[in-house]
């Protein structure tokens, strides 16, 4: 039985979307147990009763505008913090939250703790490609700065994830850089390139330009947290802007445009699915002793369901134990 702690109070649609996602996951997967942290009365409103779900009541929660590290330190009874404590005490094997990202990072680092040998856990998501297969990218912003050594660790982490959770054999690892030639980049990139090229356990395919990310140039893309964050937010912003321009063009385009949109409805849904991509699950704070996964703040029940599914696969494949061994042997 896999036991997953879920913060019921995080995100824009909590607790309803969270609890409904939990209901779906419990109905689908018979090998999981869920601990729901949050306001019992509110949770009960939406929860389908099951033997495999327990509510851990608390009145306290971390808000989206709370200062992350401070909130984790001071709100010791917050639903997210209690969930992290449960993982620390091995009462649960993983933590999911749609709440304050910074606070979840802090709870992950300070409560759950790093895998021995990993210096700076990175935030990793599976992001969309045109062909639908997706790519994993990290660090998406857990850190404002990274060394080449961190980038090398991200390559190992991402590679294990792609192989175990996404089922890819010998995932192609790329280094995000300002050109594809071997000699490109600043000193950080050049040093990272050497470390990646020298590691025979990786299927390193060289430098990748941001223009080629959605064309599936690599299965795993490593970046420092500052650049990764900028790239992720640019993808999101560009996607949203295009949808907005299209919507407003349809709205102001008169009857002809509206008719066109009606006929094109299915195709426009494809577009939405491309940019949404929640079926791949949430963003993993990767490099911790247990899976700690962030659902998007605006997650609906479906996204929560997919994140539980993702965490279940991480537990099933035991990817964290594998990584723990790899990094322990490197330390020696």
């Amino acid at each position: 039985m896999k036991k997953i702690a879920v913060d019921a109070m995080g995100g824009d649609n909590a607790p309803q979307a969270i609890v409904e996602g939990v209901n779906q996951a419990l109905a689908e997967f018979e090998d999981i147990e869920i601990e729901l942290y949050g306001d019992e009365t509110k949770i009960r409103e939406y929860l389908t009763v099951s033997e495999r779900v327990t509510i851990k009541h608390t009145d306290e929660k971390i808000d989206s505008d709370d200062e992350p590290a401070k909130a984790v330190r001071r709100k010791k009874k917050a639903s997210m913090v209690l969930g992290a404590q449960a993982v620390k005490q091995k009462e649960a094997q993983a933590l999911i939250s749609a709440g304050n990202t910074g606070a979840l990072l802090a709870a992950g680092l300070f409560v759950v703790g790093r895998i021995k040998g990993i210096d700076r856990p990175g935030l990793m998501s599976t992001l969309p490609t045109v062909d639908g297969s997706g790519f994993d990218m990290l660090d998406l912003g857990a850190n404002a700065e990274n060394t080449a050594h961190h980038l090398h660790q991200y390559a190992v982490l991402g590679s294990f994830y792609a192989e175990n959770v996404r089922g890819l054999a010998r995932p192609r690892v790329g280094l995000l850089n300002n050109g594809t030639e071997d000699t490109k980049g600043d000193p950080l990139r050049k040093e990272a390139y050497s470390l990646l090229a020298a590691d025979a356990s990786l299927n390193f395919v060289g430098n990748i330009e941001a223009r080629e990310l959605m064309n599936g140039a690599a299965d795993v893309v490593v970046a420092d947290g500052f650049t990764g964050n900028a790239v992720l937010k640019t993808m999101e912003g560009t996607g949203m802007s295009i949808v907005e321009v299209l919507k407003s063009a349809i709205k102001t385009g008169g009857a002809k445009a509206k008719l066109g949109a009606f006929f094109l409805k299915d195709s426009l849904y494809n577009l939405r699915d491309l940019m949404d991509y929640s079926s791949a699950g949430g963003a993993v704070l990767f490099g911790l002793k247990a899976p700690v996964v962030k659902c998007h703040g605006s997650s609906d029940a479906k996204s929560v369901y997919y994140t539980i599914k993702q965490v279940r696969t991480m537990l099933e494949t035991d990817v964290i134990s594998q990584l723990t061994e790899v990094f322990a042997s490197e330390e020696e």
Copy 2:
């Protein structure tokens, strides 16, 4: 009379698109003279004869896969290099090319030369916003690394451009960062924030996240060349990917989707225009003693025309002389 040197041999559609763009610009603007550098016979095929255009024949040209600095050093008679020489010798006041970007950067830096007091000229483009007004961003990748001092210079350069060329009063300057709070970012961003906030000549509006770029969060956005390059390429890649998904959905969506696309044609054109945005001109290598502007490699005649228009405005407003004075007085 404004005299502009144009490399007729650079880009995918050279010399036809280049020469046709020149024809349009000469017809529209009576106060410009063009020097066309390249193969005279090929240029003559497309050129509308005018008193205000001269052909400077050369057989040599820089190819898109030439190693930039080496090509500029060795191919002394290449159309791009001769154009840069003409600017250096004040025979022309500006240079336009759709050729090898790295080579144009090298020709700009080593032949045309930097404005005194400017350490690292940056590559700047006007990029699209949802409302159509656009924003200027630099450095888009002329440099792989920048200091906070460089970012401050980019803010001054971008501000002068937005005011002079785009006609904005007190352009809002933002710093690309991984969050909007004052305290965000790595040491480079924190130091740049202090420099920008302390400069009363700037209308500094604080940190900007990449997600808000296309919403027009600032008129001028400064970034280091590595991040700026990644953001630009992500915007391009995401835009192209979305268009591709939409096209393929229409193609495989049967008669209904095709009918929808027909009715939505005008709205889809709006989308294309949003992502194209060539009416704002080319990418300026900014901080040199004269305007040196890169047209996109795939430029058509219209983009070349718009780039000539942009350069004409730069010459008319004398933005380079203004900047030269500003940076000269800072040096003292």
